[in-house]
């Protein structure tokens, strides 16, 4: 198993670790088979239901998981930070993996659940502001990984 230098950097110095007091959304995604679990807290500004206007103003994560999982969560948090919700909803696992200069093949479908966990937080935000209708359209975490 070879990790890229980027993966090792994010594993060693994970960005945005922690929780947020009074978050606007909380998302969790985990793969019980792999034993990876991620929780994201987000703050959204402005508190809009316009996905092109609302941005992730603050993001924090916690991860139980292997080196790849920690690096994925850290990288995904960095990528989401400051982006509009619609931009984050369009982010893919591959975007994160590519930004990390690749992940070992076996980690791709397993530890690479960072984007999904953030999208879960967005879903949670949308529900909290009463836009259940929008929330259901966001993919979020795959069924087997809740």
């Amino acid at each position: 198993m070879q990790y890229s230098q980027k993966v090792m950097d994010h594993f060693m110095n994970p960005r945005n670790v922690g929780e947020i007091e009074n978050p606007d959304g909380i998302g969790t995604c985990g793969n019980p088979v792999c034993g990876d679990l991620m929780t994201f807290h987000i703050k959204v500004e402005p508190h809009s239901d316009d996905l092109n206007a609302a941005r992730i103003s603050q993001i924090r994560f916690k991860t139980f998981g292997c080196g790849a999982a920690i690096a994925v969560a850290s990288m995904a948090s960095e990528m989401a930070q400051g982006k509009t919700l619609s931009e984050v909803i369009q982010m893919s696992r591959d975007d994160v993996a590519n930004s990390l200069d690749g992940l070992p093949p076996i980690k791709m479908h397993c530890s690479n659940i960072g984007v999904q966990a953030i999208q879960e937080a967005i879903k949670d935000y949308l529900k909290r502001i009463g836009r259940q209708d929008l929330a259901v359209k966001v993919k979020g975490c795959p069924k087997e990984s809740h």
């Binding site: 670790v17 792999c34 034993g35």
Partner: protein
């Protein structure tokens, strides 16, 4: 990285460094004495003599006759010969019994034999990893060709009660094979007293070279070769003999025979001291494996709330080489089948660490672990969503 250069190697169950004495014994057989043991000239005869004498040293360690030893390329090949060879050499009995905690070199082979019409039963284990003898007793019957149960487990070090297993097996005339890859050279084995039928060993697990192993086969037990070809190894394992490897294996056996007893005590003290310190310094850790019936160099435990690979990576960056039952460290997507079979919850199996101590480890090495591990665990727990202080 400079740190990597002098890594503290605590992964001796995965593979051991070759003992310098073993390497010294091998060296002349590369260039200076190149003979093929099948050749009748001086170079060939010398190689033959060296191979014969190494065979004698292996058999001395196992308490068997030297013509009961077949050299192979390692533990996996030995396991494959034992299982496939026994199956293909007969047509009467069609049932194989193994345990749920075997190494893949046994498990996967047994599963493959289902393709050839063999029924497979896997005996479960208790929470310490000891096979369920009652279950085994009910499973073995007159259709059972082979029972293959490991001598000690590579992940936990738990030593199986093979004496009792053999008694059960023999009652129904089944053949008993044991994967003793983790025990040969570490604890005494007397094939004759045990009445074991077949036994696998691997050189690189006890300070011999990689790429060499052996299969003990009691006289009279029939098996088909895995590799056909020339008349090597009494026509049971074809291929030009790996002469330097065989010499190395012989030397490793001779050293083990001499030093095993003292070494076992030394390792046990080293390991128990390590566990004691870990247990004192890190809350929420639990031992995996049998508390006493266990290889003296093996320490496997689970650390709650953190995952094994991330601990390994941080240990690695501190220059410490260890291993884990985390799924992320295996080629598969699942956590250690051994820990899971012992009933250890998935999260704890994912959070397991194994330190396996060996001949070249000293207190300095275990002290290094004690110095860095608590901090590593603390850091990882801080970012773990499962952990509540």
């Amino acid at each position: 990285m400079a740190r990597e250069e002098k890594c503290i190697y605590l992964d001796n169950n995965a593979t051991t460094p070759t003992d310098p004495r073993v390497l010294d014994a091998m060296l002349p057989y590369f260039h200076t004495m190149p003979g093929n043991p099948s050749s009748i000239h001086a170079a060939g005869r010398k190689a033959r003599q060296a191979v014969d004498s190494a065979r004698g040293r292996v058999s001395a360690l196992l308490g068997c006759r030297s013509d009961e030893i077949y050299f192979t390329s390692g533990g996996t090949e030995s396991d494959n010969i034992a299982i496939k060879g026994t199956c293909f050499a007969q047509e009467e009995r069609k049932k194989i019994i193994t345990s749920s905690i075997e190494h893949h070199a046994v498990l996967t082979v047994c599963e493959y034999m289902q393709k050839f019409g063999y029924e497979l039963v896997k005996v479960p284990v208790d929470r310490h990893g000891i096979v369920d003898l009652d279950f085994l007793n009910r499973a073995v019957d007159d259709h059972t060709l082979l029972v293959s149960i490991m001598h000690a487990n590579n992940e936990t070090g738990t030593i199986e009660p093979i004496q009792k297993i053999i008694e059960i097996t023999r009652r129904h005339g089944a053949i008993f094979h044991t994967d003793a890859v983790q025990t040969v050279g570490k604890i005494p084995i007397d094939t004759n007293a045990l009445m074991v039928d077949m036994l696998s060993l691997s050189g690189h697990k006890f300070y011999g070279p990689k790429g060499i192993g052996a299969l003990y086969v009691r006289r009279g037990i029939r098996f088909d070769p895995l590799a056909h070809g020339g008349h090597h190894e009494r026509s049971k394992r074809a291929g030009t003999e790996n002469v330097p490897g065989i010499i190395g294996l012989g030397e490793a056996c001779a050293i083990a025979l001499n030093e095993m007893t003292a070494e076992e005590l030394r390792l046990k003290a080293l390991r128990d001291r390590l566990w004691q310190s870990i247990w004192e310094k890190i809350p929420k850790v639990s031992l995996n494996g049998h508390p006493t019936e266990r290889l003296s160099g093996t320490l496997n435990f689970s650390v709650e709330y953190v995952e094994g690979e991330s601990m390994l990576l941080k240990l690695d960056l501190e220059g410490i080489c260890a291993s884990s039952g985390s799924a992320c460290t295996s080629g598969s997507l699942e956590a250690s089948h051994v820990l899971v079979a012992m009933g250890i919850p998935h999260a704890l199996a994912h959070g397991s660490l194994r330190f396996s101590l060996g001949r070249f480890n000293t207190e300095k090495d275990t002290d290094a672990v004690i110095n860095v591990l608590p901090g590593i665990v603390e850091k990882l727990r801080e970012i773990s969503p499962l952990y509540q202080r």
